[in-house]
Each structure stands twice: as structure tokens, then as C-alpha cells.
Subunit: 246 residues, 2 copies
């Protein structure tokens, strides 16, 4: 535990995206951090500050893409990896090797869900517009809503049954709970019809998400201006034609 | 270090796929393991044994999908997470927190590359045949070959420059080297024209991959029958029409 730690988080300033997972872990842990790309340039902020680190202007192993965390001299990338790093240091991960492996396993399963959600509106390429891949998007979203959302949410429901709850890994909250909460929030936003339908089959997961949202630090964060609203530039986009498309 | 450890690895028996990353780490570490789904049913093997664990027939946190590792009472899933778990226990990961975070960061960046390689032949859905999404596949593969392969391999080249080599994280080999080696081997197989073209820009990475292939345990494994050949059921598929498609 390094309660006085201060971190610099770098992510695109206008979206929740993959940066929201580390943001939530930092907020829930109550540690001090700067969300650098959202600060003005005169405070060392802005997107240019982020791009400079991605170009390798800082010594050490560079990140491939945001989000990344700067902890002193060290830069750490990959959303689930940053969640793990912060969670293990600040009381949001189990203490034993098996529990730590399970927390990361769940965060990475969430990352798979997030990738597949992104694929629904960009099945062909991230560098083409949605409008230029709408036909493929319709087909991808249909498979996602029909098969994948029930499979993923059903999986988290089974994990809660296996651990006995109330949290995914048992008696203590971990960063895995925050990651699952955020994924379900994204699904609620982007695919409201699909998600409402699937959630009727996963009541324990629904309770878990409500419990996460009510924890003190998370509730304060969600009510603050630091929480960027979901929008159609992020990963979870509300395109009604993709929700329960068939 | 638990030199006498014995693990059970579970993955689809006919492909390298995402299971090949943990397989390589287990082989390179020289630890004892069973590749359970490839064993006969009378030895507790076969795909049914794997599916039974995925259904939750074993106590504890279940896996969402293969590959997963059984270490005594504990089941651990997600390919990069299994690599990390084995690598950290058996001398194939740095000892410090920053180095461990960087090893996982690189393994997860490889996992992103692998996901995108899979998307080239299944851009719309994993549950449709390639033949039913060939048009979208052509477009996805074009973007992958033109933009993504150079971006990923160029990134690993920059990491080698930043660390000073000879391994990705400096003086000691880690599971990150094995993961990058396997991804480049897959690209060599599936996209030979694209990969040959891009590799001319990444000579240090090419040297790294040769060095991995020559390490004693890896060389013995690659020459053995335990190494399944690449094929068109796996993630890296040689569909000539997708290689340097435009």
C-alpha cells in the first residue's frame, strides 16, 4: 500500500473507452491521480502530451496505445494490466497468487467483451467510418446480441455462484468487480433492449453492479464531472439499429 | 520456483490457437505438464474433459473459454494470464513489479494482434463460416496487412531499442519473448508476403525471433510432435487471397 502515491493516467479525453477501467480502479481505491490528457497544455496536459509518450519520448518501455499509467519512471500500458497494477497495490485485489490470477482472468474476459462490443460497429476496420461498414456491422451486432451478451453475462453470473459472492471473488471487492460493472454499464447504454432482456437471467450480477455503483468512492465519482458521459465516439455506442438487430 | 510442479493445460487438440502461448511457456520453462484434451479419454483426456470444466463441473472460479491451466485445485484462464502465472513461477518473468507489468503489457499487446489476425477471416462473427463473410474478410485483411502488421511489429522493434535487448525486456528472456515469437511465426504462416515485407523494417525483431527458436527447450519442442502444425482451423490461416490484399 502506498496511500500517498500519485499517478498520471493517459487516455483520450473525450470518451470513457478502455481508459474508464483504470479510472474506476483509481477512483475506487481513492488514490491521487491526474487524468493528464484532460488537463490544459500549460499544466503539461492535452493529447499531445499523451502522443509524445506513445512516440517514445520518455525513457523505458513505451506503450503501444492508451490507456497507460505513469508511476514515477515507469510507464504501464494495457487497460487490464493497469487495473491489476493499481488494484494489487491499493487493496482492490486478492493477496494470494490464485486470487490474483482469477482477478486478472475476469478483467481480461471483460476486455474480450469490450473488444467484441467495439467490433459491432467496426467489424472491418477501426480506420473506416461506421457508415462505411454498416452492413457488416448489422450482421456482427446481431451475433453479438443473440449469442455473445448472454454468454458473457451468464458467465459472470456463474462466477458469482461459484465464489458464493457477494463480490465476484468472494468476500472482498476487487478490481474485477469494477471491470464487470463498467462493461454492464456500457452494454446498458449501447444495447438497452438486449441487455434488459439478458439481465432478467442474471439477477445476482444485476445486484453486484448495483452494489459497485453504491460504494462510496464509486458513487462520488459517478456523480462527478470526472465521469465522462457515454457517447458515440467511444466503444459502447448507442446505435438503435444495432440493438437486438436480427 | 516449483521445479517439480506438474500442470494440466486444456485447449482444443487440433490447433495451435491461443493455447500455443501457454504451451510455449511451459515448454521453455521445462516444467512437467499434460496437454489434457490431446490425451485419450481413458487417461482422463479428450475434449469432453475440457468442456466439463468449462461447464463448471470443478469447484472454484470457472474459465470462460480455453486455454486454461489447472494447478492443483486452481483453474486459471486467459492465455496471457496463464503465460504470466507460469512465467513468474518458473524463471521466465522479471522479478520486480515494473518488469512484471511490462511483461504482461507485451503479452497483452500480442493478444491484441492475435485478435486482429483472427478478425481478418472472421470479421462478422466467429459462428459464421469464413466463406459466408469473405467480402468483409477481404476488406478487414487489407487494413490489417497495410496498417496493423507494420504498427505491431514496428512497436516490438521500438521496445527492443528502448530496452537495449537482446530480449524484449533487456538481459533476461521472459514469456513476453515467447509470445512475440509465436505471433510472428503465425504471421509468417498466414501472411507470408506481408510479413516478409514488414520484417525488412524490423531486423532486431527478426533476430529476437531466431534467438527464441534456438533456445534449447524451444528448439526441442518445435522439432517434436507436440508442436501442432499451423492449419486453417486455427487463428493464423493461410488464405492467399487475404495476404497483402488490396
Amino acid at each position: 500500500m502506498a496511500a500517498t502515491a500519485s499517478y498520471d493516467l493517459y487516455y483520450w479525453p473525450f470518451i470513457q473507452g478502455r481508459g474508464e477501467f483504470p479510472r474506476l480502479v483509481l477512483e475506487a481505491a481513492g488514490v491521487s491521480y491526474r487524468d493528464v490528457a484532460r488537463l490544459p497544455a500549460e499544466q503539461g496536459g492535452g493529447v499531445d502530451a499523451m502522443l509524445s509518450i506513445m512516440r517514445g519520448d520518455k525513457p523505458g518501455i513505451p506503450p503501444y496505445a492508451p490507456p497507460f499509467l505513469v508511476d514515477g519512471d515507469v510507464t504501464i500500458a494495457q487497460s487490464a494490466n493497469v487495473c491489476r497494477y493499481v488494484g494489487e497495490r491499493h487493496g482492490l485485489a486478492p493477496d494470494d497468487a490464485a486470487g490474483r490470477a482469477h482477478a486478472l482472468q475476469l478483467a481480461l474476459t471483460v476486455a474480450d467483451l469490450v473488444d467484441e462490443a467495439h467490433q459491432t460497429h467496426h467489424p472491418i476496420s477501426g480506420s473506416l467510418y461506421y457508415e462505411d461498414q454498416k452492413g457488416a456491422a448489422q450482421l456482427a451486432a446481431s451475433a453479438f446480441c443473440t449469442e455473445r451478451v448472454p454468454a458473457f453475462l451468464g458467465y459472470f453470473e456463474r462466477v458469482l455462484a461459484a465464489s458464493g459472492g457477494p463480490w465476484l471473488l468472494g468476500p472482498r471487492v476487487s478490481y474485477a468487480d469494477l471491470c464487470v460493472f463498467q462493461a454492464v454499464a456500457g452494454l446498458d447504454y449501447a444495447f438497452p433492449r438486449t441487455t434488459a432482456r439478458v439481465k432478467r437471467q442474471t439477477p445476482v450480477l444485476v445486484d453486484l453492479c448495483a452494489r459497485v455503483a453504491e460504494t462510496k468512492n464509486v458513487a462520488a465519482y459517478l456523480a462527478s464531472e470526472r465521469r465522462i458521459a457515454f457517447n458515440e465516439m467511444g466503444i459502447f455506442r448507442r446505435y438503435p439499429e444495432l440493438d437486438d438487430a436480427s
